[in-house]
Subunit: 232 residues, 2 copies
DNA sequence: TGTATAATGACCGACGGTCGGTCTTTCGCG
DNA sequence: CGCGAAAGACCGACCGTCGGTCATTATACA
């Protein structure tokens, strides 16, 4: 095997790319380190030069995903002209459009990530996202509290709770994925959409806002994402 | 080795007992099947006669824990004289007293279950608990909605969300555990207690109740559980 | 300035050891 | 005697290690 040398950062990212693709194809447990190094075109030793354990891949991938996600909403977070409510809604709207733009990719990943045997992968992604988003959301909520718009005792705790609400839809999403392609598909999508609506109301209420202040999903969003198909 | 034959149910429970003890001592990943069979005093073949995989132990243990928990509140759930709010508060009060009664055991298990490497164990326990509690809580919320006391669009979704709120305290509990025995211990316990209070308010609001309607923790509960020490 | 030399660290791949799971055989109970 | 429970030797997949190699960069010296 010819030896190809690259900068540590480049190589590390290549490995993360390969591992991420495999994890979203087969899940974490069913992907072996040998799978990863075969895909990247690297040796066992090379791999362990950059990572101390297979587990590190999870850490690296989820951190990267979360940081990418927050980078894409940075301008909304930093816009000084927005009220807290506008910022929050703008943040969620942007997140939706990111998902829609890559809907087929997300959809394909969902198929794997929401399988029961990949519960760990799901929760790691969630935890990394929360870790990155918590300070961000805390600032927004603190702003809203200062404006007198939100009514919460502790912005940080509120942020943590709101972010964790996402995970409460895990089972509902999994059920909908299972129903895709069956006779109950339409009903399942409608039910999931309802579920998301309620999620928005729950968030409103936790922040002390009138029902309907926050928009989690727009009409058609749930169906669009759930029915998206991977090209090729 | 002398061969000891027992009924399948008895043996199965013995294995679950042994595995549960080990999981709460060392965590899931760090417990091997050989550890389990050594503790129970059984052979490899015997083990795989009762369980098809190590993973099955998680399933079995968490299901048993969840069912035990719900059995201990059955009378409150079935009491026809209670309003939904009384039932919910009674249910939570009972849960607290169960925890207090076995505080040292719970506390010792927390030390392990809240370690980052045992995230899967934590979430499996949580998921099993949710699976068992969801129908139960759904009925209570439906009752409250019928009484006009709770204001929610969908009792089942509300139940799912409320149950998932527990998981949102994972990090806060983990931080408190880390702070135990340090100078910040008192502050950490106080902060966690505040966090639980807010959790209660969040639940109130999701159900459309006035703040303070539900009692998640009584004064001193958090400290009592967190400072409990295992005998021996 | 050009070149030998040293140091760095990316990379290699055979190998070891652990651990989940299987298979054949044996035992005990009804 | 038949059937399920139990025993334990065995298997093989995988993670991680280890001694060593090769490309690249820094340094010293002519």
């Amino acid at each position: 095997m010819p030896r190809i040398v690259k900068s540590a950062d480049d190589r590390r990212n290549e490995i993360l790319d390969g591992a991420q693709a495999l994890f979203f194809e087969r899940g974490y447990e069913r992907t072996t380190v040998n799978d990863v190094i075969a895909r990247v075109g690297i040796s066992k030793g090379g791999f362990y030069h950059h990572f101390t354990a297979k587990e590190d891949l999870l850490e690296g991938i989820t951190a990267r995903l979360a940081q990418d996600a927050v980078a894409r909403v940075r301008d909304i977070l930093d816009d000084p002209g927005l009220s807290a409510l506008e910022r929050l809604n703008g943040f969620m709207a942007r997140s939706r459009s990111m998902k829609l733009a890559d809907a087929p990719k997300f959809r394909a990943a969902f198929d794997v990530v929401f399988r029961p045997e990949n519960l760990l992968l799901y929760h790691r992604i969630n935890a990394a996202s929360i870790a990155v988003m918590r300070p961000v959301l805390t600032r927004i909520i603190a702003q809203g509290k200062a404006e007198g718009a939100f009514t919460v005792p502790d912005p940080e705790a509120a942020a943590e709770i709101l972010l964790h609400l996402n995970a409460s839809t895990h089972d509902a999403v999994a059920r909908t994925i299972d129903a895709m392609g069956t006779a109950g598909e339409d009903a399942a999508i409608a039910a999931l959409d309802q579920r998301f609506q309620f999620q928005g109301i729950a968030m409103d209420r936790i922040l002390g806002l009138p029902d309907g202040s926050l928009t989690i999903v727009e009409p058609g969003f749930t169906r669009a994402v759930m029915t998206a198909r991977q090209a090729g």
